[in-house]
């Protein structure tokens, strides 16, 4: 029976399958992508932690003593220890060069540093017994060209490092990749990796151990180990779990994504329900006849549930296939090379959730209708559908819609996130309930607007008004789908705007000179002397434990910001904060860290300095700070204070903020030191691109909802035209020409599409207003933006689909003989 029905009307089940497939694909692709990003983040975190369960960092400048290391190694539950040994030296290529870079020599043990394996971009690791081989990190290799090399250092080149016996020559045998090796534990990114034998001989003087990595025995956690470390070493060291505080990718956007995906599923369920309702209406008499022939309610119910079950299964299968393909494409776009992607199917949980969505869409949208159809008495089913359905919407729908809209608009005045979310939901609901009530009036108004098609449009409007319930279903679903798409696009634009706004606040001037390795301050002075360059400000990046948490720091010149602007303070007085940064142990923290760790203005945070632990006061909170490289932002310190408190760690600079004159002369001068001049506009564009990647998923939701809207239009138009065949036949019998009949069908399609689109755009805009405020968080302040291009594109896509979907059946209907059309039922 099912096969016969489907063979007779193949488009309807196919459209329903497509709707479910779209929903399932969306959820699966979203899940696979998020799983991929999570794994990527896990992998980065694991790489940063290496084999270390717990990092024990010295709080005193001298580092950990041999006795302290011995006590740490002797702690119960410790399986292995790996101390990080390092010292600062001067590195240069040409022995006669006056410029030398401060490099950190780090001792390699077992192919890594502090249990973090060193990954090489080229070459090999130095042999452990070698006395003249080293490996350098990528940034250092580039920066060293400023010290007499003709270009970046390559494998086989020589480098001179200050040793106990003077500048000795070492052969570079490997170049480390950025972020590998000791990046997670090292206190510097300008590393030169030496062998244990070299450490014991030429570099032994002054080698310090700022950190030791501990690997716990199986079953023992970092927290238990940390307790033992604190008890054994006391204030001389702090223990940091390197696996803690992993940032969830797209953390800000996840709730929004969940909301939009839920809406897209509801839209899909609505569109699917529309399709099922129309399909049941078409087969109303068949169902009546089945009941008349003796089929019980249960038999009809089983038949219809079987049908939606097959549709759900087919839609889910297609959706899983599509979702996997989409995820593969997205992953190819998102995931960096060399990092593990998600499993091709996204994992059992993702698959189950996607299947649940497919079944859920059917359960929400179709099952109630099927149960109702199966329960219909045989005689009622045999009666004409028109006589059985109410023609006018009940008056309470208008009241309910008005009430919901009023609540939604009133919620805009609130600052509560939950009230704003409820308001957004109420506005969406008011759209679903209210738009259909306004449709007939709107259609009549449109009919009066155009003289040239007035008759056709009037007829079409009357048709739509007469088929009240079906028009309600279509316009409601269509407008909701468009609203979700417009709201998603608006939020994408808002997120993009919020994403690049921080750029302007970080760089007071028009450019920044970036260095792959830490440069001596002498270089900054030379660059500032380049013709046309205004004031410059050095920025030095480093990692440190603040109040027991490993965070990124940026030491800045507060004076430059005082004189040239930049840095938007959300808490604390800007002038006071910048002055304090320059004169006292004080910190300015970014909003994201303040929110994550509960840091507030005036808090005293313990900071490990060269003289031991000392307190630093939080003197301000800024909306954004420099990226720390771990997905979060940096804590700001004044350079002078940082150098005083932290010694060589804060010496030199990594970036040079240029307050004016960032032109080609400066670019050329910077290139001479292996550095690069980047204009602020370029930074802004990069930020835009990065945010665009992150919010790409939102766009995917928007596209899928528009697709669902298009399917809704096609479904309804096909059934409308089929069921309007008799009416059209009657109209033609009394003198309506074929051409005008086609025009009526076209006008009906356009009216449906136009009304749904206009209402959807208006509704989506209204919904986006509270939602923009709902997604705002610490350091993420999107502002409402109307997505003109997206709205226009969605509108055009839906109108074009309506015209195309109406064209073929209208030709067929008007090509049918009048007698056949009149007899059609």
């Amino acid at each position: 029976m099912l096969l016969r029905w489907w063979r007779a009307r193949p488009l309807q089940p196919l459209l329903n399958i497509a709707v479910i497939a779209a929903g399932v694909a969306l959820v699966l692709a979203m899940q696979i992508t998020l799983i991929g990003l999570d794994r990527q983040a896990d992998q980065v975190a694991a790489q940063r932690a290496g084999g270390s369960t717990l990092d024990v960092r010295a709080t005193a400048g001298a580092g950990l003593s041999a006795a302290q290391l011995g006590r740490a190694a002797g702690l119960p539950g410790v399986a292995a220890v790996a101390p990080l040994q390092e010292k600062r030296v001067i590195a240069r290529i040409d022995p006669n060069s006056i410029v030398g870079l401060t490099a950190t020599v780090v001792v390699l043990r077992d192919g890594g540093v502090a249990m973090r394996p060193l990954q090489l971009r080229s070459g090999r690791l130095p042999r452990p017994d070698s006395l003249d081989e080293v490996a350098v990190d990528d940034g250092m290799a580039t920066a060293l060209q400023a010290t007499g090399g003709g270009g970046p250092v390559r494998v086989g080149d020589s480098v001179r490092l200050t040793t106990e016996t003077g500048p000795d020559r070492f052969r570079v045998v490997g170049i480390g990749t950025e972020g590998s090796g000791a990046a997670g534990a090292s206190l510097s990114r300008s590393a030169v990796y030496i062998t244990p034998r070299e450490a014991a001989n030429t570099f032994s003087l002054g080698l310090r151990t700022p950190l030791v990595a501990l690997r716990a025995k199986a079953g023992l956690g970092a927290a238990t180990l940390a307790t033992g470390v604190e008890r054994t070493l006391g204030p001389a060291a702090i223990a940091v779990d390197p696996g803690r505080d992993r940032q969830a990718p797209l953390g800000d956007l996840r709730p929004l994504l969940a909301l939009l995906v839920t809406l897209a599923i509801l839209v899909g369920a609505g569109v699917g329900a529309g399709g099922v309702a129309l399909s049941l209406e078409e087969r109303r008499r068949d169902l009546g006849l089945l009941r008349l022939a003796g089929a019980s309610r249960r038999q009809v119910r089983r038949l219809l549930l079987g049908e939606v079950g097959v549709i759900a299964a087919a839609g889910s299968a297609v959706g899983i296939l599509l979702g996997t393909l989409v995820a593969a494409l997205v992953d190819a776009h998102y995931l960096a090379a060399g990092l593990a992607g998600p499993p091709w199917y996204g994992g059992g949980r993702a698959l189950l959730l996607a299947l649940a969505v497919g079944i859920g869409m059917v359960a929400i949208g179709s099952v109630p209708l099927v149960l109702r159809a199966a329960a219909m008495p045989p005689l009622a089913a045999l009666r004409s559908a028109d006589s059985a359905t109410p023609r006018h919407l009940p008056g309470w729908t208008v009241l309910v819609a008005a009430g919901l809209a009023a609540f939604g608009l009133a919620s805009l005045a609130s600052s509560s996130r939950s009230l704003l979310s409820a308001g957004a939901g109420a506005l969406l609901l008011s759209l679903v309930v209210g738009v259909p009530a306004a449709v007939p009036r709107l259609a009549r108004a449109m009919a009066g607007a155009g003289r040239w098609t007035a008759d056709s449009v009037r007829l079409a409007a009357a048709n739509l008004a007469r088929r009240g319930p079906r028009t309600t279903l279509t316009i409601g679903g269509l407008s909701l789908a468009v609203a979700v798409a417009v709201a998603a696009s608006s939020l994408v634009l808002a997120a993009l705007g919020a994403g690049d706004r921080w750029v302007g606040t970080l760089f007071p001037g028009d450019g920044v000179v970036t260095s792959p390795a830490t440069q001596p301050e002498l270089v900054a002075q030379q660059l500032e002397r380049t013709a046309g360059v205004g004031e410059t400000g050095m920025v030095r990046f480093f990692n440190l434990d603040l109040a027991g948490r490993g965070v990124g720091f940026a030491a800045i010149d507060p004076g430059v910001y005082l004189r040239h602007g930049g840095l938007r303070f959300s808490t604390g007085d800007r002038l006071t904060a910048l002055e304090l940064l320059d004169s006292a142990p004080s910190l300015v923290v970014p909003e994201d860290l303040a929110a994550a760790y509960g840091w507030r203005l005036g808090d005293h945070l313990s900071l490990p300095t060269v003289d031991g632990i000392s307190d630093a006061i939080v003197v301000g909170v800024v909306e954004h700070s420099f990226p720390a490289g771990d997905g979060r932002e940096s804590v700001l310190m004044g350079r002078n204070v940082a150098r005083h408190l932290l010694g060589p760690l804060a010496a030199g600079f990594d970036d040079l903020v240029v307050a004016g004159g960032a032109d080609s002369a400066l670019g050329a001068a910077a290139a001479g030191y292996g550095m690069q001049l980047v204009r602020v506009d370029t930074v802004r564009e990069s930020a835009d691109a990065a945010v665009a990647h992150s919010v790409g998923l939102l766009l995917a939701v928007a596209v899928v909802t528009v697709l669902l809207a298009v399917l809704a239009v096609v479904t309804t138009l096909l059934v409308n035209i089929r069921q309007g065949m008799r009416d059209l036949g009657l109209l033609r019998a009394v003198g309506l020409s074929r051409r005008r009949a086609r025009r009526v069908i076209r006008a009906e399609a356009l009216l449906l599409a136009l009304t749904g689109t206009v209402a959807g755009i208006a509704g989506g805009t209204l919904v986006a207003l509270p939602m923009t405020r709902v997604i705002a968080g610490p350091g993420f302040a999107p502002e409402f933006t109307f997505p003109a291009v997206a709205a226009l594109a969605a509108g055009l896509a839906i109108l074009a689909t309506a015209v195309i979907a109406a064209a073929l059946p209208s030709r067929r209907v008007t090509g049918t003989s009048i007698v056949a059309a009149v007899q059609h039922d």
């Binding site: 029976m1 016969r4 029905w5 063979r7 007779a8 008499r285 068949d286 009546g288 006849l289 089945l290 009941r291 008349l292 022939a293 003796g294 089929a295 019980s296 309610r297 249960r298 038999q299 008495p377 045989p378 005689l379 045999l382 039922d825």
Partner: protein, 263 residues
């Protein structure tokens, strides 16, 4: 009234009341209708449009629950059954023929005929071969064999109605209910259809209740019940001894009696 009716009635309708509340004021279409239909008896119900004859037929078939009163078919009170049992009873014991919309358009003629057999529960469902044989026999007896694989849209009105009769007979029901079965057909085709119904019912001892407003069609029945404003107002027993095989029955006396009633 025939002697068969008097012996063991197949259908017993007692004090049937039905009011529709769709319009205002509510419309009372059946006002205490009582009747019996004997085994193998052919009863026609006549009356003007809106007198309640179709509603009476629907109530006898268990399609329209009455507000008051009972309908018993073969000793079973239909409206006391739940949906499952009522559906099974309708499927196995009652055959319906309507004026239009009788066939499922996506099924072939043979499949439409086989529907009541295929809808039976697993325990009582005949095998595929048995179904095919039954369908084939019915199609032969109704001269439909050439339509086996054709859909309803490919057949004429008369052929569609013959397929509907075959479907009504497929489960070998004890009662056939026909609502204006010739309403959409020309006189010649209508006569052919009525001749088939009366022949098949009489030869196999089935009872038939036919609703019509055409006296020439009602003349095929053994007994004609006349309805007016929801009540039975007259009963006319017809004598078929003068009828000629294969020709329409004599309708003159019935038409004259109806004229007397001024319906």
């Amino acid at each position: 009234m025939t002697d068969r009716t008097a012996s063991t009635p197949l259908v017993t309708v007692s004090d049937l009341h039905k009011t529709f509340h769709i319009s205002r004021p509510p419309r009372e279409v059946l006002r205490g209708v009582s009747l019996t239909v004997g085994r193998g008896e052919f009863v026609a119900v006549m009356g003007p449009s809106g007198c309640g004859k179709s509603t009476l037929l629907h109530a006898i078939g268990g399609l329209e629950p009455p507000d008051r009163g009972t309908v018993a078919v073969d000793g079973q009170d239909l409206h006391s059954l739940d949906d499952e049992r009522l559906s099974a009873f309708r499927r196995d014991r009652i055959g319906f023929v309507f004026q239009r919309f009788n066939l499922i358009s996506s099924l072939t003629a043979a499949e439409n005929i086989a529907l009541p057999l295929r809808l039976r529960g697993r325990a009582s469902r005949p095998g595929r071969t048995a179904v095919m044989e039954r369908v084939s026999a019915l199609m032969d007896s109704l001269s439909l064999h050439r339509l086996q694989g054709h859909g309803p849209e490919e057949t004429s009105g008369g052929e569609q109605q013959r397929v509907a009769i075959a479907r009504a007979l497929a489960a070998n029901p004890v009662l056939i209910l026909a609502d204006e079965p010739t309403g959409n057909l020309d006189w010649s085709t209508g006569h052919e259809v009525m001749w088939l119904i009366s022949k098949l019912c009489r030869s196999e001892g089935r009872s038939t209740v036919l609703v019509t407003h055409d006296a020439r069609i009602a003349a095929y029945a053994d007994r004609v019940l006349v309805m007016k404003d929801g009540t039975l107002v007259e009963e006319v027993v017809l004598d078929h001894r003068a009828d000629t095989e294969g020709r329409p029955p004599v309708a003159g006396p019935l038409i004259a009696r109806l004229a007397d009633l001024e319906l």
